[in-house]
């Protein structure tokens, strides 16, 4: 199976958000904790809608939460 090519900063952002738990993020995003675990470990690429919900939970722009591989951290390809 093709490995997802999307990186994310979820783990760091959870820490910066007052050590938000995976369950809290899952509740905010409307998914299960196991899905958040899979997204965080880059084993599952979320849908666009879920990606936006996760970013909204952190109150961050999408590009700060997810990066397409080959892309710089500032979001420029």
């Amino acid at each position: 199976m093709k490995h997802p090519t999307i990186r994310n900063q979820i783990r760091r952002l959870r820490f910066e958000a007052g050590e938000m738990t995976q369950q809290s993020l899952a509740d905010a995003a409307g998914v299960t904790r196991q899905t958040i675990i899979a997204v965080e470990a880059a084993k599952y690429s979320p849908s666009l809608e879920l990606a936006f919900r996760i970013a909204a939970a952190f109150k961050k722009p999408l590009s700060e939460v997810f990066q397409y591989e080959g892309e710089g951290k500032d979001g420029v390809i």
Partner: protein
Amino acid sequence: MNDTKPPQSMADRAVQAFSNTSYRELGAWVSLIVTCFVYVPYFSWVVRRFLENRLEAGDLLGVFLGAVFSQIFFLVGVHIGLAILLKDEPRDERDRLIEAKSSHLAYNILSIASVIAAVWIVIGSVRFAGAPEAMRFLHPIFLSQVFLFLCILAETAKYLTQGICYRRGS
């Protein structure tokens, strides 16, 4: 930052792995194990009886009903246990994706296996044309068991795919 403390022993690692496993993933693995546990002996018995030319409707029906009730009993019991131990959450997009993948694969396996089975039955009946063995391949009891085997094979593939997809992430 970590949701749990670093595991200190195998027992701790097992508990953490269990808590990171969703109800649906465990349900898939349990369904796979129960299906194999019930139907491997069942089809072994059917094949043995078929080869001995002793596959009779009366015996077959009793054994089949026993297999079905056993499967229901074990599945319901274990799923109740899992529901008590784990929180069952509504299906999210990953659950729906995995379910769609597993159903798609199961359908493909059922389709391909059906064609193979049909060809095998025709070849068998032609190969033994004129001989009593030919009728065995066309006997309704034999055909019913072939059909049942294909369905169980597809179900097994579905559960296995679900378990693997959950383990791999999607």
